[in-house]
């Protein structure tokens, strides 16, 4: 039911972990299943220099987290803000219909982290 990309990112998730003294931390809990994702950012000159995540969730949630982190590492904050849930799902080669909501966690948590980073800077 999962694409090879999903399985790959699920099996070997990129950027799992925590950043000490992160510049921004964001979090999202799925309203439909209670699954949860946490994103840690290191930002320099508006560029995401490092990103780590922790996810409590299904295969799709973990793969989405990993894919998201890969997609935005080294990108500007604006580019990261433009990332949508659909783009994450597409990059994974699609998700089964009942699993589409799982990709929401990733982009939402990322955007939350950026928001918190910006709020802290002000």
């Amino acid at each position: 039911m999962y694409s090879e990309k999903v399985i790959d990112h699920f099996t070997n998730p990129r950027n799992v972990g925590e950043i000490e003294n992160a510049d921004g931390i964001g979090e999202k809990v799925s309203s439909s299943c209670g699954d949860r994702m946490k994103v840690f950012l290191k930002v320099e000159d508006d560029i995401i220099k490092d990103i780590k995540f922790q996810t409590y969730g299904c295969g799709a949630a973990i793969a989405s987290s990993s894919m998201m982190s890969e997609l935005v590492l080294g990108k500007t904050l604006q580019e990261a803000l433009d990332l949508t849930n659909d783009q994450v799902a597409d990059a994974l080669g699609g998700l089964p219909a009942p699993k589409l909501h799982c990709s929401n966690l990733a982009a939402d948590a990322l955007h939350e982290a950026i928001k918190n980073y910006r709020a802290a800077k002000v």
Binding site: I7, F10, T11, C33, R36, Y56, I62, P98, K99
Partner: protein, 394 residues
């Protein structure tokens, strides 16, 4: 990579003796058993021989067996059929919160048609309180439907006590014994059961066949109207190969049950104890003793069951999260939920259903692989890290 199948509560492989017995009925003896010619006579005899075998396993008379296409059909036929036949006497049905979807959604359907349904709760072990059952009975109660063994946890209900209560009140008693038949001794007389559902593919018979025990004298409106097959209780041309297979599977189950159930219990206990010892903050869901010998439902806190299953699958190990139904795998299990298990613990529940072909090596391989999977997923889980932080702070 060796494949290890531990999802026998979802479905089993057909046993070789069963398949051998079925094969002649596809091309050689393929007649319709309702026909009067040679082709029908051959299969007619096989049909009745199979009926006797099924009857023997559950201690009823052959005429009380109605062949169906699956356990779900049996549950629908029993519940809708009895509810309609008994409608004049009342409209109240008692069932439990942990039944299979084939029972629960049938009851929900009947609620739309003027029936009232009580869903009895279970305790933390998934056990039914017989006092609660007694208390739920009203003058209008016409049917009790309570499963023999739970498919997700393996918890065994006290069917004989339920049967005695129902009989005392003159209430019809249906039990979904799809997981029980062939795995634990099932005797419809001892348990005072009136209707009992069986599914072939859980006990080494093929998919596409099942049976419903209907106690003599119990009236039932058919679910599948049609010809005169099955004494007017189920229309449709008989699935002869499947029925023959079910007969042989029941025969084998009756013969092997004591030995196989002991062997599987030992394997299951080894798996259970090994996992609990190797993985902290894990727990068994289900009754400690009153449980199917082949079933282990176990939770590993802080992680998600589906993720565990995927990693197991990549190593060739097939297990499941409760109901075999994929869509259910995404939500929470209604069974574990009804047991009042903490939601995060509940979310990590996975089920091992051991089967005839499993070996000690299979168990040891799971014991070798699973702790590392849990560790990997916990390392990824924010809840797990927060727990560490919390305990460090404390």
């Amino acid at each position: 990579m060796k494949r290890i199948y531990m999802d026998n509560n979802a479905t089993t492989a057909v046993r070789p003796e069963v398949l051998d017995a079925m094969l002649p009925f596809y091309r050689e003896h393929f007649g319709n058993p309702s026909s009067i010619h040679w082709a029908g006579r051959e299969t007619g005899a096989a049909l009745e021989a199979a009926r006797e075998k099924v009857a023997k396993l559950i201690n009823c008379s052959p005429a009380e067996i109605v062949f169906t296409s699956c356990g779900s059909e049996g549950n629908n036929l029993a519940i809708k059929g009895a509810a309609e036949a008994l409608r004049e006497r009342g409209n109240h049905i008692i069932t439990t919160a942990v039944e299979h979807p084939a029972v629960l959604s049938t009851c929900k359907y009947l609620e739309k048609h003027g029936y009232e349904v009580t869903y009895l709760p279970v305790d933390g072990d998934g056990m039914l309180d017989i006092v609660a059952l007694e208390a739920a009975i009203t003058e209008k109660t016409i049917l009790v439907s309570a499963m023999w063994a739970n498919n997700e946890t393996g918890t065994l209900f006290p069917v004989d006590k339920i049967g005695a209560v129902a009989r005392n009140h003159g209430i019809c008693f249906h039990t979904d014994a799809v997981q029980a038949v062939g795995r634990v001794p099932v005797d419809v007389e001892a348990a005072k059961v009136d209707l009992l559902s069986i599914s072939g593919h859980k006990i080494g018979a093929p998919k596409g066949v099942g049976a419903l025990y209907v106690r003599k004298g119990i009236r039932l409106v058919p679910l599948i109207h049609g010809g005169h097959q099955e004494r007017n209780r189920r229309g449709g041309t008989h699935n002869l190969p499947g029925i023959v297979g079910l007969g042989v599977a029941c025969d084998l189950a009756g013969r092997d049950l004591p030995e196989v159930s002991q062997r599987l219990r030992r394997l299951r206990d080894r798996l259970e104890q090994g996992l609990l010892a190797a993985i902290p903050e894990s727990q068994v869901n289900g009754h400690p003793s009153e449980r199917l010998p082949n079933t282990l439902n176990v939770s590993f806190n802080y992680i998600e069951g589906e993720a565990v299953l995927l990693f197991l699958d990549m190593q060739g190990i097939a297990a499941s999260s409760g109901s075999a139904c994929m869509s259910d795998a995404f939500g929470q299990s209604h069974v574990i939920d009804a047991m009042g298990v903490d939601p995060m613990m509940a979310n990590s529940a996975i089920r091992f259903g051991l089967g005839y072909d499993n070996t000690c090596e299979d168990v040891d391989r799971v014991l070798e692989i699973l702790p590392a999977i849990v560790k990997k997923l916990r390392d990824m889980s924010p809840f797990y890290h927060e727990r560490d932080a919390a305990s460090v702070t404390a």
